[in-house]
């Protein structure tokens, strides 16, 4: 077996290498012999650039042709010669392949002459003529009216449909012939046609070709529309790009054009609600990464998608990027799209591409905003008077003495508003500048950003400084080098806050003692509680992380032949972060800190990777387009950490480890992983109508044992553009209709680095006051652990309708996770850990869903109105776990587990008791199933306690009476964005929401528990105080003998919400005004984030972690900001 594996591994390596050798050797030879040619795409690119130039070059048009050019002697391809002339004069070449005999061989004799003369010589004997427009050498058919005088002439003007500008050099051909002409510098043409019943074809690069029957007219003015909108958008697909129209898989593109026009501090904010099937749960903590779920939770293990930033894969830290530097974000949702990332694609892939410069288009941008953030919807806590009353009845009900200080509750007044002191209104500001540009050979993009965001919780804030340096250089004609480099430094003050403690702290306790020191609970715990002063803790304890992050890649791209390209990438991701916790000594209860304390940690995580891809891309004349990519990728990671702490500082002013005196500690560790991959992809299309994509990736990972290192991840997808079929032509209102279907397998290797290894742990014991080393077996090994794989079926359709005004994308999918790693149930009697258990590939999970996104241009013109809407539906179900024993999930405290994983149920579903009202009198207690029996009247179920449903009807309420009480996974997530513009005003209204999920409001276990000295929300004012007073809120009783606070549906709430995520109103200064200050564009805007939320949820914010448990969650803030965008 083992031998076979090794052989197989070797075999694969050899195949991989041989394939490359095979490809590279012959093409290398070819490339040396062949002459460089111009590709279609390059012309395309150059044509776009023309649009940005002012037409002031027209006067000197043709002057370039007076330059002396050198031609090689001998037989050559026709187009190579023309190309060579154009290159030497600095002109771009423009021609239509239909009229130019590109492959015709011609014999060149003269070697040195002017470009004009050379062209004349070369074109002699053809029906072609040439002219220069806008630095563009245009080849067109000579007008043949001179020798065919019997023909009738048709004239007209060709203009750009969008701008109305005339278009010079437009080719006009009579359909079915090779006869034709081109427009002159003023866009005027004159063509002789054999008959006025003929049809003319107008073609121009970058514009849609138009076929116009003459229908007896002699003057035909034509407006051509640009092609950009439809289909020419390049989409980054992983190890390459693809035109959007050619996609067969499910990929969402997030338009980032507007990222700088609204204030978004991070990439995750920019993504929320923007793509169907992508759920983003923001973290309210400044600078923290959000949680992404692409098409549901696909495993009980790590379900975070892979993030690829400029080719460098990562799973964290994307918030280091300045959103202004991002060019595009693509989300690979379907397996057929993500499969190219093989073992790391199971949770979907988010590809982020940063901006690059454009040659000849120099720009300097300034983007600034400042705003304020506020937390909304804080719960109403009891004031001191209300709390004292509650405390008295709570203690009395348990037979305990009341706090003498609470004997006159009303004398205590309002007391302390802890939440009010923990939260504050926090400023946020961001400054970005960027400049970009380039010349023919080199382009660059440079940006700098400073973000300063204070948290709404005191003592939390985030500062980020980032620099982006991107450049591409065409070193040789066929050789391009480039780099993408992000440098970032951030300072995150995590603070030392506890929102739940601010909710628990008693209003009867002041923040400060009379001497100005922080106050703490002093006295009997049942009277004064034992919550550490949350404000004191937040203010005194400094807890911060400094991040230093580098993300960079360098590539070289070699065009070996016209159709064959080699690209090599070397990337590095280096994260360094230094943590620091400082606490001065303090003396307040319940737990004083008798010595000042400093802990520091140093962490580094370095990943390098090298990718090599070879791409063959050829469009055949018969409408076939073949693109083949073969590649290898190798990655390696190492992370190291070290932590030291010391106590007892002589002075607060010296806060370095060396200044401490007592109890120094030192720890550290390191771990490594590596990944080696071979991959291939074939795209085939016929007439843009039938499209096929297949990919295959073979990954080897260090995270698996010797027999299981390698995994194979295939995928295939097809698409059919029905709108291209003749039978579909009569359907005029649909411009484009494409059906897609795909299947793919992806893997998940996020299982920890060494779960296969059989190892011994080192621990410590101590004897006679000295530490001694100890080595122990601790985790039962599972050498057979292997890949989790996700198998996904996807069907979809893309449609553009009503002259491309409405676009629609629909997808439906089934995602089956197989071999899901589930913890093996290891009985503790083995002596091995029953918590750190080996994972075995025994689970299955399924996600099924549908996604729809619609974008519509409702009104065009001076007033414009665009709408984007998307909605996603997903159903998650655990199909099987290791065995039938369900796994508890979501520990929220020593005594409470909220969630449960069980086959047949969605992941993280809540599990607990079902409530059934409140016992109003002792008779009801006696008649009901036994909850807490006993002779002690203070310590048994009594009137005012909650009735729990006896689900198994055995007359006793015990753990067998629990059931599933709520699903935290939403049925739908959706968003709606409306953008309007009128003259210089623009307005965006963005709504986002989820529907159908449940939230377990765990804060209420304490804040409505009425069981110990903890402050309560005002909801407990309506508690049961006697027969008939309440059937929902139980009595107050210290120690909670009936278990009223147990996990039950009492705390399960509807988590659906609709949030006004953003409203932005912008005003762009009139150009004539801004140009006075040499500014091309200046826009000022006002923006509001999270302005308003419609929800039934009673907690602070319905945006809670993915497991649906709201406990101590940092709420997202409402932000109002004012911003400025300036383009020079």
């Amino acid at each position: 077996m083992k031998h076979k594996r090794i052989r197989e591994t070797l075999l694969w390596k050899c195949i991989g290498i041989s394939v490359f050798l095979l490809f590279i050797q012959p093409f290398g030879v070819l490339a040396q012999k062949g002459t460089a040619t111009i590709s279609h795409k390059k012309i395309l690119a150059s044509t776009y650039e023309l649009k940005n130039q002012k037409p002031d070059t027209q006067k000197k048009q043709g002057a370039e042709l007076n330059k002396i050019v050198i031609l090689k002697k001998g037989k050559q391809r026709f187009i190579s010669v023309i190309k060579s002339i154009a290159d030497q004069t600095g002109l771009k070449l423009s021609y239509s392949e239909q009229i130019v005999p590109v492959n015709k061989e011609i014999n060149i004799e003269e070697v040195k002459l002017t470009a004009r003369k050379a062209l004349k010589n070369v074109l002699k004997g053809t029906s072609l003529s040439f002219d220069v427009y806008s630095k563009q050498l245009v080849l067109f058919l000579k007008t043949q009216s001179d020798n065919q005088s019997q023909e009738i002439s048709v004239t007209g003007k060709v203009t750009d449909a969008g701008t109305g500008q005339t278009l010079p050099g437009v080719n006009i051909v009579i359909k079915g012939t090779t006869q034709g002409t081109a427009t002159n510098s003023k866009g005027i043409y004159n063509i002789s046609v054999p008959s006025l019943q003929d049809t003319l074809i107008y073609s121009y690069i970058g514009y849609q070709t138009k076929t116009v029957p003459i229908n007896g007219r002699t003057k035909i003015n034509i407006a051509l529309t640009t092609k950009i909108l439809n289909g020419q958008t390049l989409v980054v697909v992983g190890y390459g790009t693809q035109e959007k129209k050619d996609l067969t898989g499910s990929i969402a593109t997030i338009k980032t054009r507007n990222l700088s026009s609204v204030p978004v501090p991070s990439v995750s904010d920019a993504l929320q609600g923007k793509a169907s099937g992508v759920q983003v749960i923001s973290s309210g903590v400044p600078g923290n990464d959000a949680t992404f779920r692409i098409r549901g939770t696909s495993t009980i293990n790590n379900s975070n998608p892979l993030i690829v930033i400029d080719g460098v894969p990562t799973t964290t830290g994307y918030n280091m990027l300045n959103p202004n530097s991002i060019k595009s974000i693509q989300v690979l949702k379907g397996a057929s799209a993500a499969a190219i990332y093989g073992s790391r694609g199971a949770n979907g892939v988010i590809i982020i591409t940063t901006k690059s410069g454009k040659s000849g288009h120099n720009q300097f941008n300034v983007d600034v905003y400042r705003g304020i953030q506020q937390v909304t919807n804080l719960p109403n806590m009891l004031n001191a008077t209300q709390y004292a009353k509650l405390s008295n009845s709570m203690l009395a009900n348990n037979g305990l003495p009341e706090n003498p200080a609470f004997s006159k509750p009303s004398s205590l007044g309002q007391g302390t508003d802890w939440l009010g002191h923990l939260f504050h209104t926090a400023p946020i500001q961001s400054y970005s500048i960027s400049y970009s540009g380039g010349n023919k050979k080199t382009n660059y993009y440079v940006s700098g950003n400073m973000l300063d965001q204070q948290g709404t919780v005191i003592s939390t804030d985030y500062k980020r400084y980032s620099i982006q340096l991107n450049s591409d250089t065409k070193l040789l004609k066929d050789l391009t080098f480039g780099d993408r480099l992000t440098l970032e430094h951030d300072i995150k003050n995590h603070g030392n806050y506890s929102i739940i403690n601010a909710m628990k702290a008693l209003p009867t306790q002041p923040i400060y003692n009379s001497d100005g020191t922080y106050a703490g609970p002093n006295g009997r715990a049942s009277w004064v509680g034992s919550i550490t002063n949350p404000v004191g803790q937040a203010n005194l304890i400094n807890n911060s992380t400094l991040g230093y992050n580098i993300l960079g890649s360098v590539y070289g791209k070699l065009q070996i032949t016209k159709h064959l390209r080699f690209k090599s990438d070397f990337g590095i991701k280096a994260n360094f972060w230094d943590g620091r916790t400082w606490s001065p000594k303090y003396n307040w209860q319940p737990i004083p800190q008798p010595k000042s304390y400093l802990s520091k940690n140093y962490n580094k995580n370095i990943t390098w990777l090298t990718d090599n891809t070879l791409t063959y891309d050829k469009m055949f004349n018969d409408g076939q387009h073949v693109k083949v990519m073969l590649g290898t990728s190798a990655q390696s990671n190492r992370s190291d950490w070290m932590r030291g702490s010391v106590q007892g500082f002589a002075s607060k002013k010296t806060q370095q480890l060396t200044n401490g005196t007592d109890q120094p500690t030192l720890n550290g560790d390191a771990s490594e992983w590596s990944l080696l991959s071979f991959m291939g992809r074939v795209n085939y299309s016929y007439n843009d109508t039938y499209l096929v994509t297949t990919t295959l990736r073979r990954d080897g990972s260090s995270r698996f044992g010797s027999g299981n290192k390698w995994g194979l991840f295939p995928s295939g997808s097809v698409a059919w553009r029905i709108s291209n079929e003749n039978f579909f032509k009569p359907v005029k209102f649909i411009n484009n209709l494409k059906l897609r279907a795909g299947y793919g397998v992806t893997g998940n290797q996020e299982i920890g680095n060494y779960s296969f290894a059989s190892v011994l742990q080192t621990v410590q014991y101590n004897l006679n006051g000295q530490l001694v080393g100890a080595v122990v077996p601790s985790v039962m090994p599972n050498p057979n652990v292997h890949w989790e794989s996700v198998e996904q079926y996807d069907i979809g359709l893309d449609a553009d309708m009503f002259n491309n005004r409405i676009s629609l994308t629909f997808d439906a999918y089934i995602k089956n996770t197989n071999g899901m790693l589930v913890p093996e149930s290891v009985p503790i009697t083995t002596g091995y850990s029953d918590i750190n258990v080996p994972s075995i590939n025994a689970g299955k999970m399924q996600n099924k869903g549908m996604e729809l996104s619609v974008s519509s241009k409702n009104v065009k013109g001076k007033f414009s109105w665009n709408t984007k809407f998307n909605i996603s539906y997903n159903r998650n179900r655990i199909v099987s776990l290791n065995d039938t024993v369900p796994m508890p999930e979501g520990n929220i405290d020593f005594n409470y587990t909220v969630g449960r994983l069980e086959a047949g149920h969605p992941v993280n579903e809540f599990y607990g008791y079902v409530t059934n009202g409140i016992f109003q009198n002792q008779q009801q207690v006696n008649a009901y199933a036994v909850q807490q029996p006993g002779a002690d009247p203070y310590n048994r179920t009594s009137p005012g306690d909650i009735k729990f449903v006896d689900l198994n009807n055995d007359g006793v309420i015990n753990s067998n009476d629990r059931t599933y009480i709520g699903n935290p996974n939403p049925d739908f997530t959706f968003s709606l964005n409306n953008s309007f513009s009128y003259k210089n005003f623009d307005l965006q209204i963005f709504l986002q929401g989820v529907y159908g999920n449940k939230i377990f409001n765990a804060n209420r276990i304490w804040n409505q528990g009425m069981a110990s000295a903890i402050n309560q929300t005002s909801a407990v004012l309506n508690r049961w105080t006697g027969p008939g007073t309440s059937n929902t809120m139980p009595r107050a009783i210290y120690n909670d003998p009936n278990g009223n606070t147990r996990v039950s549906n009492r705390y399960v709430e509807d988590g659906s919400y609709l949030r006004v995520k953003n409203i932005t109103l912008g005003y762009t200064l009139p150009r004539r005004l801004s140009q006075r200050f040499s500014v091309n564009m200046a826009r000022i805007y006002m923006s509001g984030e999270n302005l308003w939320t419609l929800t039934n949820y009673s907690g602070i914010s319905p945006e809670v972690p993915v497991n649906g448990i709201d406990l101590n969650v940092y709420p997202v803030a409402r932000t109002i900001s004012l911003g400025l965008n300036i383009r020079f």
Partner: protein, 509 residues
Amino acid sequence: MKFKNHIYQVILLTILLAGCKSQFLNKAPLDSINTANFYQTKSDAIAAINGAYQPLQWPKLYNMRMWTTDIMAGNSVTGGAGGTDGIETKNEANFVTKPSNPGVLDLWRGPWPGILRANTVLQKVSGMNTIEPTLKNRILGEAHFLRALYYFNLVRFFGAVPMITKPQHPGDNLRPPRTKPSDIYNKVIIPDLKKAIQLLPAKSSYSGSDIGRASKGSATGLLAKVYLTIANMQKFAGKKYDNQSTNSDYQQVVKLCDQVTQLGYKLDANYADNFNPNHENDQESLFSVQYYGKTSNSFWSNENQSSWTSTFMGPRNSNMVAGAYGWDQPTQEFVNAYEKGDKRKDATVLYKGGPSFGGMNYDPSWSNTGFNVRKFLVPKSIAPTYDSSPLNFNVLRYSDVLLMKAEALNELGQTSASETPLNEVRTRAGLSGVSGLNQSNMRLKILHERRMELAFEGQRWFDLISHPDYALNFLHSIGRTNATKNNFLLPIPQKAIDANPNLTQNPGY
């Protein structure tokens, strides 16, 4: 053209580099030892046996759950923050313990890793011929002793438990059924301790960082306790645990206790020295769990080396010691049980008007009962922070041995002979000697003496369950009216049954 050739060479090289590094995908853990490369040298063997001690330190065992059994046994109540803080211990004390009780789960989960580690040592080290025989014998003796101690605790708390005497591997039967206590005693605990007595050196032979290891005296004293438990369970609880007569068990106890005396153990002159960090592993100590205040691991983790007792028992919100969670609050009934003049009262409990601690006078409002445990408090001068108490926890000390001897002699009918060891303990406590009691009164006197002498040291529960009638009587008299004899075995934790459905539940749960 030459330039391009170079480029192709670079490309080829890159691909070869990526594809052909044969070790590229082999990454082994950097912070742990590959099992195959261990158990080879002397230091490997020592490190392996050190690991077998370590679970004793865990909160699951002696750092917390062992001493909270005194709350279950009626000496004290759960303090803490109130509400649900310590609810599992409150449930135990009210005898409404459920199989899901996390405190019970801890007592179940604590010993097994220790048993695996001892089993591993017994398997691996016995085959090693690279170490000198005396050291090898000592290490094997320690492993036998520790395995016996872990099983002894399991069998007393839970009754029948799986009997696992070899390290298990994937593919073995990991879900064995329970083995009856008599087999656990006769096939594991007794042979292990006999082996340990034979293999272990005397305590006096240890020096330096070996002080604190199990010695011949530890094993001898523990075996005495095992025989006493067996004899009492047979005499008072109707069990049949071994094949010899109950009287010969008691005789074994007397013999073993005398052997302990012969090994040179003595009572400390001052009772409080047993709980003084400066008097650890002294003449009275047969075996104690070692703690070391300078932990570099989280106080709450298994790897923590600091003692929890001072932190957990210090009066809550008092600032008397660092931490001070006020967990273990003695009842009025317990404090009243001290005879007049018993010096142990001042050393054991904090009460209003008692001697000050750390310069502070005790305020009874710090506790729901008006009392806190003083025995384990470590002054801030030694433990300045909550996580720095170095106080060892006694598993077996000489006064216990004397009281065991007294108990065995009394049960053998030699009531007057039992006065001598009993009075040795009483004299140190400043009390007058006992004389002239009949056998049953003497039994009650010894149980009472054990309660006061060993209070809060996790012994009272075991004394109660080996005298079930006495125990029920006592518990009901202090208002713990829910207690039944079924409660004298803890439930097998639900989690254990979930993981191994072959485990049956104890009656009454």
